[in-house]
């Protein structure tokens, strides 16, 4: 099988362009980054429903809430650091509190932003967005899923935060994948340990599972593309069989997928959870692949984590 390397943001742009035809209520907004977030694809075909706000992200969220309160389905995009960080309180009050129909779709999440450095690497956005009531948080595993998720969140009535990457990376889902908010996908079945990935790290979990299989360890892999609401059923069913987990995300270990899974398991089915993510640190400039190694997000790190989680389970 040939590996397709695709950028999620390009598929977000494609999905928006399709929505411009099928959905007259969709309005797309951007803050001087349309060529990067790919909302430019919507602007090309539907300039009359594209709203440029300039470098004024907080204003973008406020205006988005007003549009949504007046019947529009709004997609507002910028880089993940600005979307989630700069506008946090605007999102909380103007969008989430009144439960308005605004989709905040950010691109350039995580350390794979690379050369721009720490100021541009959002490693806290899942945490920030997940803590706001009424907010749905989505982190697709590849470009195809980003496309399907864009369509799905357009159908959902309420606030959503979706994080997408900048770079091209291999697809893991079928081209015609369906997306249901709140439903995880079991990518591979196994009985010894559950590897729970989100975003680009789903691919790393699959590669780690291959390597573990050659050592006689059977790993289950779950693509947790909705982080909130968390798919409790799938998680508890899997952990019931494996008894231990690894979480893997391009995000801080504080407050992200790892925390969400731990919160659930602590109360429902106490089991070891070893977290792959950045360890309470800022990133830095550099080549994304090298950064993944330096910051402990590479496939060997997932393999180690799986073994540690299994050891913790044995210790009981």
């Amino acid at each position: 099988m040939t590996v397709q390397k695709l950028a999620q943001r390009n598929y977000y742009g494609k999905a928006l362009a399709e929505l411009s035809r099928s959905r007259g209520d969709v309005v797309v907004m951007d803050a001087d980054l349309a060529s990067s977030t790919k909302t430019s694809e919507f602007e090309k075909v539907c300039p009359e429903r594209f709203v440029e706000v300039g470098i004024a992200e907080q204003n973008m969220i406020g205006v988005a809430s007003g549009l949504a309160a007046s019947g529009k389905t709004v997609f507002a995009s910028t880089f993940a650091v600005f979307a989630s960080g700069r506008c946090w309180e605007q999102i909380r009050l103007s969008v989430a509190y009144p439960r308005l129909n605004v989709k905040i779709v950010s691109t350039h999440c995580g350390i794979s932003v690379g050369e721009d450095g720490a100021s541009h690497q959002a490693l806290e956005d899942i945490s920030l967005m997940r803590s706001i009531p009424n907010m749905v948080v989505i982190s697709p595993s590849d470009a195809y899923e980003a496309f399907a998720a864009t369509k799905a969140i357009a159908e959902y009535d309420g606030p959503v935060y979706m994080r997408l990457g900048r770079s091209e990376f291999p697809t893991v889902m079928p081209m015609d994948t369906e997306f249901r908010i709140g439903r995880a996908t079991v990518m591979r079945e196994g009985g010894d340990v559950t590897l729970i990935g989100t975003g680009q790290l789903v691919m790393s979990c699959l590669e780690a599972a291959d390597a573990l299989a050659s050592e006689g360890i059977s790993a289950e892999v779950i693509n947790m593309s909705t982080i909130k609401p968390l798919d409790r059923e799938t998680l508890l069913e899997s952990l019931g069989r494996t008894g231990c987990a690894v979480t893997a995300e391009e995000h801080s270990v504080i407050g992200g997928l790892g925390s969400a899974v731990s919160e659930l398991l602590c109360e429902e089915m106490p089991s070891p959870v070893v977290k792959i993510g950045t360890k309470d640190t800022f990133g830095e400039s550099g080549n994304p692949e090298k950064l993944f190694v330096k910051y402990g997000l590479a496939v060997p790190d997932v393999i180690d984590a799986a073994k540690r989680s299994m050891a913790l389970k044995r210790k009981g």
Partner: protein, 271 residues
């Protein structure tokens, strides 16, 4: 003391050469807005600012805050030419482990005052540094460079109100009015209108200059007012490289091999 205006023009050109070489070696970065502000940085670092590259933490130094942090290559070039950094280090820009991060980081490379890169925050930081100068009875000045697109960010206007309220006469904001941002023409993206009038209505003393005229920049920067000063600096984005001038395409993209050669040839002819 003693660089002639011709010297400063030559230094500015050298900074431009560094910017092209650094961003091309890194394969990414922001050359366009670096070239438009190069004359300003030459005048600040080699004529107007009181500073000592051998003691970057000198308490009485004038401060330069790069609010438009994406033009870090230009800042690093000016720091290297001034003696804060070895010139060879410039080639480590944006590489893992380098002190020269894609956007400036306080405490990493000597001479970098604040961490920036998220637009619209540097003027507030500068207000704080200027206010501390007042509290400590120090006579240092604070210079803050902003992009024109960056002025769309509301925080700047909160800072503008603050600066005149606290009469920060030690603060000078310089806006690089190159009329371009990522999306293109600033007036089409989100019109800024009369920036000078806006600043004036916030209680600032305002001057508009040609940002590529060394003497005009000098006199605007040396002048003092009894409140904060804003200098609207009309410039050309990509200045001094024909195919980059007024070209938004080179905002956040490095030259390829062939373009690099052409750019360096044009710049070196100007040296």
């Amino acid at each position: 003391m003693g660089y002639s205006s011709e010297d400063l023009s030559r230094i500015a050109n050298r900074l431009r050469v560094h910017v092209i070489e650094m961003t091309s070696a890194a394969g990414s970065g922001h050359p366009g807005g670096s070239l438009s502000s190069a004359d300003l940085l030459a005048v600040l670092y080699f004529r107007v600012m009181r500073h000592d590259p051998k003691s970057p933490d000198w308490a009485d130094r004038d401060r330069f805050i790069l609010s438009k942090g994406h033009v870090a290559p230009l800042l690093y070039a000016a720091l290297a030419e001034s003696g804060y950094l070895p010139v060879e280090e410039l080639m480590t820009l944006r590489k893992m482990g380098s002190r020269l991060q894609g956007h400036p980081v306080r405490g990493k490379a000597p001479g970098v005052e604040m961490s920036t890169g998220s637009l619209g925050q540097g003027l507030s930081m500068s207000c704080g540094i200027a206010l501390a100068g007042k509290m400590d009875c120090k006579d240092y000045r604070v210079f803050c460079l902003l992009g024109d697109g960056e002025m769309q960010s509301g925080q700047n206007w909160e800072a503008a109100m603050f600066a005149s309220h606290y009469r920060l006469d030690n603060l000078t904001a310089i806006v690089d009015r190159n009329r371009l941002q990522i999306t293109g023409d600033t007036e089409r993206c989100m019109s800024l209108g009369a920036l000078d009038e806006k600043f004036r209505s916030f209680g600032w003393d305002v001057e508009t200059v040609n940002g590529h005229d060394i003497d005009a920049l000098t006199s605007a920067l040396e002048k003092r007012s009894d409140g904060p000063r804003a200098i609207i600096m009309n410039t050309i984005k990509g200045k001094c490289v024909s195919f980059m001038e007024n070209n938004a395409g080179f905002h956040g993209k490095a030259c390829n091999c062939e373009e690099t050669a052409r750019a360096l040839k044009e710049l070196k002819e100007g040296l």
